[in-house]
């Protein structure tokens, strides 16, 4: 789990650099979406740190929480698409893409 946390931290650092770069380029809306993406890595790191250390929780509880996020955000994306809400479509897609990346890097052996 230590490597996973380190991976999330690297993504957060890279995300912060992206945000700064996009703001520097005058791409404020894209920078806002990069903030959303970075925030997902932060949320996942917080969840992992909190649940992984808890007795009777561990990696299984972290994975279950990530799956709950996926269900909720997919529903939010469907809703945004249904209502033609262009901003929220990008926000929810960004969240789901980051989450898929997080899940793909989740340590399988520790599940």
């Amino acid at each position: 789990m230590k490597e996973f946390i380190e991976y999330l931290t690297r993504q957060i650092d890279a995300g912060r650099a992206d945000i700064a770069g996009l703001e520097e380029e005058g791409r404020q809306d894209d920078a806002d979406f990069a903030k959303v993406r970075t925030n997902i890595y932060e949320v996942c790191r917080t969840v992992t740190n909190a649940l992984a250390a808890r007795p009777n929780a561990g990696a299984g509880a972290v994975k279950a929480q990530l799956e709950r996020f996926r269900t909720a955000w997919q529903a939010a994306l469907d809703k945004a698409r249904e209502h033609g809400d262009a901003r929220n479509v990008v926000v929810e897609e960004t969240k789901l893409t980051a989450l898929a990346d997080v899940i793909a890097h989740f340590p399988e052996a520790e599940e």
Partner: protein, 183 residues
């Protein structure tokens, strides 16, 4: 052209990604996926930026089979910058403008995709929300209680409270089992 339109144009162009989209469109009409590929953005991000450019009147979209094709509205872009910058503000009552702004904020915070998130506690906000709900009723038309409930229930689960409140606030009028929108 009003100052409000000018502001929308400047705001939409004060973003490098949107300026890049406009620059790409100067070479010809393009569809979302092609713009996304050229500008290294996701299609949904391009759609988001296109919506802002469309709202500013800078871009026009049309459907071609499965694609949405965008083109520049050259009549607007070819206007002298001097004329855009010198546009006069729309003549509106300042008090009315503030009230409209407040109303819009209340609606944005209490409604999501046409559903009421919660019944506001503050009466002023509650009235605004009920006026929005009232728009679903045709003024003067007589509704049964079931019809009233069927209109309100998809907006908020506590349709009984809302129905009673709307009567109390004089938005709906009850006559026996019949309801009429009076405001």
């Amino acid at each position: 052209m009003t100052q409000e339109n000018a502001l929308r144009i400047f705001k939409s162009l004060s973003d490098t990604s949107r300026l890049r989209i406009v620059r790409a469109l100067t070479q010809g009409d393009m569809y979302t996926e092609l713009l996304a590929e050229r500008l290294d953005l996701t299609p949904s991000t391009v759609s988001f930026h296109m919506k802002k450019l469309e709202e500013a009147g800078l871009v026009i979209s049309r459907k071609e089979q499965y694609y949405t094709v965008y083109s520049l509205d050259r009549s607007l872009l070819e206007q002298p910058l001097f004329d855009v910058a010198a546009a006069e503000p729309e003549q509106t009552d300042e008090q009315q403008k503030r009230e409209d702004e407040y109303r819009r904020k209340v609606i944005d915070s209490f409604f999501e995709y046409g559903k009421l998130r919660a019944i506001p506690v503050q009466r002023k906000k509650k009235l605004i929300c009920y006026e929005v709900i009232a728009e679903r009723f045709v003024p003067g038309r007589v509704y049964s209680e079931q019809e009233v409930n069927e209109i309100i229930a998809p907006i908020h689960e506590d349709h009984c409270t809302i129905r009673r409140d709307m009567i109390g606030e004089g938005i709906l009028k009850r006559n026996g089992s019949e309801y009429v929108r009076v405001r």
